[in-house]
Symmetry: D3
Subunit: 143 residues, 6 copies
Amino acid sequence: MKTVYITRRETFNAAHKLYNENWSEEKNEEVFGKCANANWHGHNFSIWVTVKGIPHPDTGFVINLKDLSKIVKEYVVEPLDHRNLNLDVPFLKGILPSTENIAIEVWNIIEGPIKEKGGELAKIKLVETENNFVEYYGGNEPF
Amino acid sequence: MKTVYITRRETFNAAHKLYNENWSEEKNEEVFGKCANANWHGHNFSIWVTVKGIPHPDTGFVINLKDLSKIVKEYVVEPLDHRNLNLDVPFLKGILPSTENIAIEVWNIIEGPIKEKGGELAKIKLVETENNFVEYYGGNEPF
Amino acid sequence: MKTVYITRRETFNAAHKLYNENWSEEKNEEVFGKCANANWHGHNFSIWVTVKGIPHPDTGFVINLKDLSKIVKEYVVEPLDHRNLNLDVPFLKGILPSTENIAIEVWNIIEGPIKEKGGELAKIKLVETENNFVEYYGGNEPF
Amino acid sequence: MKTVYITRRETFNAAHKLYNENWSEEKNEEVFGKCANANWHGHNFSIWVTVKGIPHPDTGFVINLKDLSKIVKEYVVEPLDHRNLNLDVPFLKGILPSTENIAIEVWNIIEGPIKEKGGELAKIKLVETENNFVEYYGGNEPF
Amino acid sequence: MKTVYITRRETFNAAHKLYNENWSEEKNEEVFGKCANANWHGHNFSIWVTVKGIPHPDTGFVINLKDLSKIVKEYVVEPLDHRNLNLDVPFLKGILPSTENIAIEVWNIIEGPIKEKGGELAKIKLVETENNFVEYYGGNEPF
Amino acid sequence: MKTVYITRRETFNAAHKLYNENWSEEKNEEVFGKCANANWHGHNFSIWVTVKGIPHPDTGFVINLKDLSKIVKEYVVEPLDHRNLNLDVPFLKGILPSTENIAIEVWNIIEGPIKEKGGELAKIKLVETENNFVEYYGGNEPF
């Protein structure tokens, strides 16, 4: 079975803070440090979306990258780019926007649309800085 | 078992187009868009070849990178670099040169020579642009 | 005078070959090597366009990057992306598409539109591979 | 005169928005687009600080990078990292935090401390995204 | 099970040579080539440490990156940075410092401290140059 | 005058230490810190060599990159790669191998060979880590 994994990158620039409303300011400061800054900070995020499948004999494609790019732009970049991840994003409402949590919610949002195009979402990689990123496999076995 | 995965990168610059000869021009344009441009386009490709194994007690090596580099240069870079992937490459004859298909064929070409040097090919990653790449594990479980 | 230089990057992927029609095949091979391959090769090009000026008091902008990006996309990316630089590009007709020559012609094409937006083109940097690029200052003093 | 230019990079992650308080919301939206988002957005900024001089015979140094790094961390990274550039930074109070304006103000802040260490500030390069950056030479001739 | 993988990068610059004391100089030269240079050579190494886990409901964290960074700095960067990997590092004594072997020893050194912070070490990626790196999963299944 | 600047990158991996033999160990430690480590440390260096000129009408070239690459490999990479910059390099004998000093000496070594190929050396950029580099213009005006 010649399963191939294809990955598309998109980027977005956003503000956020890490802050637990149920905690005191001191506790937030202790756990989240400068990431809890009341007036926010921000990042250039890169999101790498991986889809698995067998290349189609007519196209050599696992999925058409035009379709994959369009999905990621519509469902991820449009709502997140130049936004505040704590305040502005419907699908992140009530969720502490750590890189981990954003990756999970992005998976939930784009798994369906990718399936509609015949693709199977395999991995979300969300890069926050040149020094840290997270990977999420939808609760499936990693690769 | 202290299995380690070692990866070597090589690069090549090539022209190609995505075009299905059995389709009308309109259909090609619809599916492949500007990638179907009759007069070709091109990319700086990076190929990352991963070999798995247990480091040898005498060398600390899974495989000697000099050997791995030599194999990738001889079997991949030499036939693909500064070539037309639709016209010039014996091992891609009759194959639509999508990134997916190139990765599969590269696997088939170098798996044997790597084995002869005592290595076990584990993964091919082929990067086409800073925004997209494919990964192929020879039909084995991914990692 | 608080002159600031602002730079915008765009990318395009194109095919070309380096070939002098007035020379024999042997001479072309000798001078251009594999870059003369008859069936073309290609690259992921990055173009960095630098505009100089004093930030406007109302905006803090030397030039609005939306405008600069739009100009580069319309005049450079649109005609060059997924094209053959020897065959497909009106403003490169009759010009040997070395990185040097492309940079000069891009300058000539976008200097005017940038001026219309109140900007002064200062530099074109054209990156062909991770190992080589050219810089052109319109014949002015470099910086 | 064996003048050498040495550059040190530091990074900071910050929130900001581009918004002119003297303008209507419509005008802000028209000029700054999504950069005017009321709830902020953010970036991973890189700042490259260049100092010129003749290498000292005893050290081979134009300036000790430990000193240069310490200055940039104290005067730039400390006040800007994980901050809101519109609200949190004393030396940016009342200044529209475009990349251009930040670069100018950083120059003004660190020129003196670098001089005290025997160095001559030559250039500030401030990178906002992988697609745009500004350069400022203190009003001197660029290079 | 919403297992997420989070990765932190740290860097260190070190000297080493690849040399087997039980071999003749000729044999060393034959196998290790210029890497056996008697007077050493060196690299800018990047180490990427991946920890797996389920994001904590209070923090959204698999592990606090401040803790992970502190562990990697204390146990890896401090003993390896600006050191000679053959001579200066207690936990590499008697070990041929190939990239493979360093990765294995780093795993052994930091697995415990990460566990103490409630994390589970999942992967070490050690990058030696832009053209080669190794990955080690502690002898577990790779991903 | 359509002067274009063309740049070629080559890389080398080397060991060195920063140590002034005329100073006490304490003084060396104070000034150079961990860079003075007795048993050396090392880096992946990148050297960017810039040549200026007017593109030749027959080739579109300021200088043939094959020639430029060959010169840099012969005069710089060959003597420096996998070497000890304090001990192994004839043209660095007696010179404290700071990045600044290496750049100056590289200029002196390759200016002549580039001139013989009809090129004019304009700039040496030597990158030591992702956070620092030096630029040298041969004592001429920078750009």
